[in-house]
């Protein structure tokens, strides 16, 4: 019986104008998305990325002629690889920084009576705002990716497909007719859901297949097994997300006897949850959770650096007591004092920069928590996590870079300890081995985005979506049981 009603629903839906409209709209958007991605956006991103990494490797090669230079100047720029699944969720990637930098600032020339030394600062990890998209004066816009097509357009269509499912039948009186047969209300409801769900899957599947076909035909992107699995999971999440709006539509529809009223209420809910909440709370969050401004942080950092200078340089003039580290041979105390001074400075820089970035990230995470009031935002975060884009990815990228920082330092120390001629004083350039390093043995920065990492990132959001869908399903069944058929 349930299939008969579902079939009736589907046939009815298929002949409607709204169905044709949905198919055309979703198809057009999905094709547009794929074409833009392969012909331009990904192409430009990936070529810029490979250019950048080539330059970075060349600069590292230059430094590897001397271990001390490599150890003091650092690994250079670490770039974030653009995700191949960027067409699914762009995640504002083009406006997020494309790299973190592990370089040393220039040192200073020191002169005192009988003393001369050009010091090199020790590298620390810095986080410049260096996005791929350079022009920030373009008009406001949204990327037409899957999260837009499904998160916004399909959720709207789900509402349009269900707003009159019950209230419309009440208006025409066919509902009581239907109920007079020996079908339970739950069956009717479920059949209506299945009908609308399957109907909506048609445009979605057509859109996704066309989209993936274009992506696949282009030689630019080659998706591996893990990525196909991620796409599969994204499809499931999308289906769950659409079902939320179908149940919502059925719920509201069951409460009204007039289809235009149910449409208006649904529109109100849709506008608030899909449009308003994800887009206003960002402003609110920054006033709830304050983060010190960059200028304030750099002022405090400078004060701390000045304090270190004061201590080493003026208070007890320790820096000049034992002669210059560039003396031949240097006194070990001179190396230690200078290494202590330079490392302390680098540590302060690292600490301030890391802390500031952590606070900024915490503010963004807090904002994301509030926006999770909206299923559209939850959906977006889940999909971004699986596609390896957006804020979640960027945070992971920074974490990887920090881990790599330790790995790099460990490497320098272990290479240095192998050299008998070195003084093993970290980190002043004269205190390290002056031998060249085998370039291949230097650890290179890489970020592995495995299926399990991305899935773990999406798990919370996925669970939230499933729970929400179940909740609305139960609410709808209960509400429909108790409602009047007339």
């Amino acid at each position: 019986m349930i299939w008969q009603i579902a079939k009736r629903e589907i046939l009815d839906n298929l002949t409607r104008f709204r169905f044709a409209f949905t198919v055309i709209l979703v198809m057009a958007l999905m094709v547009m998305n794929a074409i833009i991605f392969v012909s331009s956006s990904y192409q430009r991103r990936i070529s810029a990325y490979s250019q950048d990494t080539t330059d970075a490797i060349a600069s590292m090669k230059g430094r590897s002629t001397n271990l001390s230079e490599l150890g003091v100047k650092g690994p250079g720029s670490l770039y974030k690889q653009p995700s191949q699944l960027g067409f699914i969720a762009t995640g504002a990637d083009a406006s997020l920084p494309k790299r973190v930098v592990g370089n040393a600032e220039f040192g200073g020339n020191w002169r005192a009576p009988n003393f001369h030394y050009s010091s090199s600062n020790v590298w620390s990890l810095a986080y410049p705002q260096d996005p791929f998209r350079k022009n920030d004066t373009l008009p406001n816009f949204t990327e037409l990716d899957w999260t837009f097509v499904i998160g916004l357009v399909m959720s709207f269509m789900a509402v349009l497909f269900t707003y009159d499912a019950i209230s419309g039948e009440r208006e025409t009186g066919t509902l009581s007719l239907l109920m007079s047969h020996s079908v339970s209300r739950a069956t009717v409801l479920l059949a209506k859901f299945i009908g609308a769900f399957l109907t909506l899957m048609v445009p979605l599947l057509i859109g996704i297949l066309l989209n993936l076909m274009i992506i696949n035909v282009s030689e630019l992107v080659s998706l591996d097994g893990s990525e196909w699995t991620r796409i599969g999971i994204i499809f499931v999440i999308s289906a769950v997300y659409i079902s939320i709006f179908l149940w919502l539509g059925l719920f509201i529809s069951s409460q009204f006897s007039n289809s235009s009223s149910s449409l208006l209420v649904l529109l109100l809910i849709w506008v608030v949850f899909v449009v308003l909440i994800p887009n206003t709370v960002g402003v609110l969050a920054s006033s709830f959770q304050q983060v010190p401004s960059s200028s304030e942080v750099s002022r405090r950092k400078q004060a701390k650096l000045d304090e270190i200078d004061q201590r080493y340089f003026e208070t007890d003039r320790r820096l000049f007591q034992f002669g210059s580290p560039s003396d031949d041979p240097p006194k070990i105390e001179a190396l230690q004092v200078w290494a202590g001074y330079l490392t302390e400075r680098a540590d302060v820089k690292s600490r301030f920069d890391d802390e500031h970035l952590n606070k900024q990230f915490a503010q963004v995470a807090f904002t994301q928590q509030i926006t999770r009031l909206s299923p559209a935002a939850i959906y977006k975060y889940a999909v971004e996590s699986l596609s390896g884009t957006g804020f979640a990815r960027h945070k992971r990228f920074v974490q990887h870079a920090r881990r790599y920082r330790q790995q790099f330092i460990d490497f320098i120390k272990s290479e240095d300890s192998a050299d008998k001629e070195s003084y093993h004083v970290y980190f002043v350039k004269e205190g390290l081995s002056q031998k060249p390093v085998a370039f291949n043995s230097i650890p290179k920065f890489s970020e592995k985005l495995t299926l399990s990492i991305t899935f773990k990132g999406a798990l919370l959001d996925l669970t939230l979506l499933v729970l929400l869908s179940l909740f609305l399903f139960m609410a709808t069944v209960l509400a429909f049981m108790r409602s009047d058929v007339k």
Binding site: S39, R44, K134, T142, V281
Partner: protein
């Protein structure tokens, strides 16, 4: 007769469920949004005031003039625009602090205050966006069944069987519809304004009031356009459900697709070029400048500029970026007082030259900005004008002084200020003064009483209007076109 119809329609509308829902939507959206954005404005205003104070303190600490060239550059702050509460525009995306020096012509602005750039991944909504997206949808929903539903219900035939002519009926429906949309809108808007006014940081002057009323008028023009589109579609179709679908199509295309797609298309079809060639040109100029300064010394057979006054001394902090250069010269001892005039002569020559080269470098940078980001933004803006949604946003942004043009005027004013500053330095012969490079003679702070002060001049009402008029005209013309379209269609409508 018109008024009878208008009254009938208004009564029917007000009693309808959608009127109640509309009121609810307007009120919650407009008032909460204005509340949030007012709080945001207060925060920004406070951080502006802090920044101004800090910059003044910074200036007071300057001991020698050359610090202005490098270590303590002048900072000019842009006051947050009050009307950014209604239209955010470029307000937060472009920075609000500009650095000025005689060796650097400002072209970009940085951010002061709470400036978490990662929050930019969240899009934000302002009063104008609410109109763009939500009010246009509601206007369509109010209008879509105005004619086709009456036909379905059979009341259209009844209404026209009397002495009422079709034009009167249509006009009546338009007036009544707009009145019933505007009443709750005006109410919510007034409530929002009262709430803004309760903030101690906000006081509107007369020009603000004019701008606010104009923004509201333009917003109504935009809503009316969508109402007329609804009416037009209603007069072209015979079943209200079909009208609704067409209306949704139009809405999706105008509001969602065109504005988003144009930016992408422009970015891909007309990308901005790399800045490197321009930076290299600028670098060459700075090299030339360095060589000329070197020649000055070579001609006089001097190695280091301060050698005649203090052989073996040291005390220069120098920096050079592609588009700017500067140095702080701080000499504390003069073993040979007779050599000091030479140093003065040298810096008098060099810093004058630096200011000239900064102007030349600016020309190169200006060429890059005009040919690349500015051209791209302008192209995107012009193409997006296919959609009335973009036209409306731009008009509102101009009136709120938050559009790109207004920001560029601010930047132009900072460059004007830099010219005044350089003139001041030249007129007072500061480049060739002792205090350019030494604070040794006196511990007193510098006498900066004659120094030009920066004050941003806001755009005059007339010039704003002049820039906004084309967009307002487009909206008005579209209104007229769709009204005529609805009129003609309804005249031939089969009741």
């Amino acid at each position: 007769m018109l008024w009878v119809i208008v009254r009938r329609e208004i009564t029917a509308n007000i009693l309808s469920f959608r009127f109640l829902m509309g009121l609810l939507i307007y009120f919650s959206l407009i008032v909460t949004n204005l509340f949030v954005l007012t709080r945001d404005y207060e925060d920004r205003l406070q951080s502006y005031q802090t920044a101004v104070r800090e910059n003044e303190d910074e200036v007071k600490q300057v001991k020698i003039y050359s610090e202005f060239g490098h270590s303590r550059k002048l900072k000019l702050d842009r006051k947050p625009k009050l009307l950014s509460i209604f239209n955010e525009g470029m307000e937060k995306r472009k920075g609000n602090t500009v650095t000025v020096a005689h060796g650097y012509v400002p072209a970009v602005a940085e951010h002061h205050g709470s400036d978490n750039p990662y929050l930019n991944i969240f899009s934000s909504i302002d009063f104008t966006v609410i109109f763009q997206v939500v009010m246009s949808l509601l206007a369509l929903l109010f209008a879509y069944d105005a004619i086709s539903r009456e036909k379905e219900a059979g009341t259209l035939r009844l209404a026209l069987s009397g002495t009422v002519s079709r034009p009167t009926l249509l006009l009546g429906k338009y007036i009544a519809g707009m009145v019933s949309i505007s009443l709750p809108l005006v109410a919510s808007f007034v409530a929002g304004l009262l709430m803004i006014q309760s903030s101690p940081y906000v006081s509107f002057d007369s020009s603000d009031w004019i701008r606010i009323s104009l923004i509201f008028l333009v917003s109504m023009l935009y809503v009316s356009l969508f109402f007329l589109i609804g009416l037009f579609l209603s007069a072209r179709t015979h079943r209200s459900s079909i009208t609704l679908m067409f209306a949704m199509c139009v809405w999706v295309i105008f509001v969602l697709i065109i504005p988003n797609l144009t930016v992408l298309l422009v970015e891909h079809a007309s990308p901005i070029q790399s800045e490197n060639p321009y930076k290299e040109q600028a670098d060459e100029l700075w090299g030339e400048f360095g060589a000329k300064a070197g020649d000055y010394l070579k001609e006089r057979a001097v190695d280091l500029p301060w050698e005649p006054a203090n052989p073996g001394g040291l005390g220069v902090l120098e920096s050079r970026t592609a588009y700017g250069s500067g140095e702080t010269v701080s000499l504390s001892r003069f073993r040979n007082e007779d050599g000091v005039p030479f140093v003065q002569g040298y810096y008098g020559f060099k810093e004058n030259l630096r200011a000239q080269y900064a102007d030349k470098v600016w020309q190169i940078r200006k060429a890059y900005l005009d040919e690349n980001p500015n051209r791209q933004s302008l192209l995107a803006l012009n193409i997006s004008r296919i959609s009335p949604t973009a036209v409306y946003y731009n008009a509102a942004a101009i009136l709120a002084e938050t559009d790109l043009g207004s920001f560029q005027q601010f930047m132009e004013q900072t460059r004007q200020y830099r010219r005044e500053w350089v003139e001041y330095l030249r007129d007072e012969k500061i480049f060739s003064s002792r205090r350019w490079f030494t604070g040794k003679d006196s511990q007193e702070p510098l006498d900066l009483s004659g120094m030009p002060r920066f004050k941003e001049r806001s755009e005059s009402m007339g010039s704003s209007l002049q820039r906004a008029v084309p967009d307002i005209m487009i909206l008005a013309v579209l209104n007229i076109l769709f009204f005529m379209g609805a009129f003609v269609s309804f005249l031939r409508y089969d009741i």
